[in-house]
């Protein structure tokens, strides 16, 4: 079983009703595993009904980071939300608990091999399924 926290560190914050989570891969193998494994669908399933809008995932390949953007996730934004965590500071830690499917070890490259970075953004179409 691979958890996101085996692969990455995280930092999260808010803008309006949108939260974002930067996930920083710990090394090259972790980066490949993370960018292949983490999908908007997994994020949504992990967070239950918290995110009411779109979930986008952007890549920052030079620093081996994913930026997960959670729209309509903060109860209307910090000044009006009833959430205890008004500004989404804990979202990063929560996303580190996601279990990635497939491959059992860090560095499992899957079928398509390393080095073929998808275009950016790549997660924006989730809501159009």
């Amino acid at each position: 079983m691979t958890l996101v926290r085996d692969l990455a560190f995280g930092r999260s914050g808010d803008k309006g009703d949108t939260a974002n989570v930067g996930l920083l891969a710990k090394d090259e193998a972790a980066w490949q595993r993370l960018r292949r494994g983490l999908t908007p669908e997994l994020v949504r399933a992990h967070l239950g009904g918290i995110v009411r809008g779109e979930i986008e995932i952007f890549e920052m390949p030079r620093i081996q980071a994913l930026n997960v953007v959670l729209h309509n996730a903060l109860g209307g934004g910090a000044s009006r939300t009833l959430r205890f965590d008004q500004t989404g500071k804990a979202f990063a830690t929560i996303l580190l608990g996601i279990e990635l499917p497939g491959g059992t070890a860090v560095g499992d490259e899957g079928a398509d091999g390393p080095g073929e970075a998808p275009s950016i953004p790549r997660g924006g179409a989730e809501s159009e399924r």
Binding site: G13, G22, M60, N67, G77, R80, L82, Q86
Partner: protein, 459 residues
């Protein structure tokens, strides 16, 4: 005459931030500018609430005691300060700063005040002219739903007013709402002689990204970090310094001997903080592209940042429209073992029934178990079957102040009418909600209104 390397320090990341790191920087660091970010979206809502109650308030009043400690040593060393502590009322802030400068015999001070971000009185006219102020969060195409409840509207200015104030010789630039990074982009434009008339967008994009790395203070030097366990003396943390070359490339560092740390992880953490599409970070001074940014650790507490890119600044400015959106009441109740889970469920039921008896009709009600699921929601790991205690947090959103006052009373009734052993913390005073409506306004409709005025103060 362009400087070879411009060194800028961060003097605060938010209202209430630690003051000591700023004092250390102006006393000991080899910097020319201190950028002091005191605002956040939430802060602007609080300030707007203050100003509604009292027209002389609505700015960051801590700015005055802050400058008491920071301005005299900064003046001694020729360090200029740029701050957005004017909040929702930069004119009142400037008057208070000048008064204190006189009272306390501060070193002579040339104060540049940048106004024009407040567009509250223009909303009606814009709407009459057919401008639709859609909500960037909800997608609502216009603000008809809240038009009668608008209390403020503030546009995020870029660095133009700051650059003008610096050109006029300001030692202290005091702004209202501008982009946080403009506090640093402004000095870079002024010192390097960059201009929007003949812009090099890659350099301006770089400036935005360097500003972004500084604007959250300790968040780039080991604060709020996944690396917290290895951060040195975070209680004496040093705020970040950027050593910026004319190309826009920069080294992020901190004052030697200060606590905290600067390495690729702390800089990456700040790089990804509160951004959306990293290829299009929309700011008033440029659209910055983070996707080619590279980091290199080039010494202890030194990280080189390169590869920043930029594209032309947008024709629109982001604006936040504040509107009255009811009231919130909030309070804590703690229930003990045995069967704390049962007692917590009982408390929740009791509260909901009491609201009904008291005739309170919440717009929204939230009951969290702090320590169990308040952060995680359904993603919470399984809680212990029979914990020693559970802290319940009740939060109620009501349409009226009276409703919030009543809800606050009912939180205490959970204790008075509830299960044995129920403890309570005093519920907070209900607060009025100023919700924020993020929208875009034409740059051309705002920029001509930006005014810079100069004041003299001190001895």
């Amino acid at each position: 005459m362009a400087a070879a390397t411009l060194k800028l320090g961060a003097g605060a990341a938010y209202w209430g931030d630690a003051v000591e790191p700023a004092v250390e920087l102006v006393r000991h660091a080899d910097i020319s500018y201190l950028g002091v970010d005191l605002l956040a979206e939430l802060t602007m809502a609080l300030l707007q609430r203050q100003r509604l109650r009292d027209p002389s308030r609505g700015w960051i009043e801590d700015l005055v005691p802050y400058l008491d400690r920071v301005w005299p040593p900064a003046a001694d060393r020729g360090i200029r300060i740029v701050t957005n502590g004017g909040g929702a009322n930069p004119r009142a802030a400037a008057e208070a700063v000048c008064a204190r400068a006189g009272d306390r015999g501060w070193p002579r001070l040339r104060l540049g005040v940048v106004e024009g971000d407040d567009v509250t009185d223009r909303i009606d006219g814009w709407r009459r002219d057919g401008l639709r102020l859609g909500n960037l969060d909800t997608g609502e195409p216009d603000l008809d739903r809240i038009a009668g409840r608008v209390v403020s509207a503030t546009a995020y200015l870029g660095s133009e007013g700051i650059v003008e104030a610096l050109a006029q010789g300001a030692d202290l630039v005091l702004t209202g709402r501008c982009s946080d990074n403009a506090l640093f982009v402004g000095p870079m434009m002024h010192e390097f002689g960059w201009s929007f008339d003949d812009p090099d967008w890659d350099r301006l994009g770089a400036a935005v990204i360097v500003g972004h790395l500084l604007e959250c203070g300790a968040c780039a030097t080991g604060g709020m970090s996944s690396q917290f366990a290895t951060v040195e003396r975070p209680w004496e943390i040093g705020f970040p310094i950027a050593e910026v070359a004319e190309s826009g490339e920069a080294v992020i560092t901190k004052l030697p001997g200060s606590g905290g740390m600067v390495n690729r992880w702390t800089v990456k953490e700040q790089l990804v903080y509160e951004i959306h599409d990293p290829a299009r970070y929309l700011m008033p001074d440029a659209v910055a592209d983070f996707t080619e940014v590279e980091l290199a650790e080039e010494g202890p507490d030194r990280v080189r940042v390169s590869g920043m890119r930029g594209r032309p600044r947008p024709d629109t400015l982001k604006a936040l429209i504040g509107y009255r959106d009811g009231w919130i009441a909030e309070g804590l109740v703690v229930v003990p073992w045995p069967d704390a889970n049962g007692r917590a469920e009982f408390a929740r039921r009791l509260f909901e029934e009491r609201l009904s008896v008291a005739g309170v009709d919440p717009l929204e009600l939230r009951v969290d178990r702090l320590g169990v699921n308040s952060l995680h929601g359904v993603a919470a790991p399984a809680a212990p079957a029979d914990p020693a205690e559970i802290c319940l947090r009740f939060a109620v959103h009501t349409a009226t102040r009276a409703g919030a006052e009543a809800a606050r009373r009912e939180i205490t009734h959970v204790w008075g009418l509830g299960a044995a052993g129920t403890a309570f913390g005093s519920p907070m005073r209900p607060r009025e909600v100023i919700a924020l409506w993020p929208t875009l306004v034409p740059r051309d409709a705002v920029q001509p209104q930006v005014r810079v005025s100069m004041l003299e103060a001190g001895r």
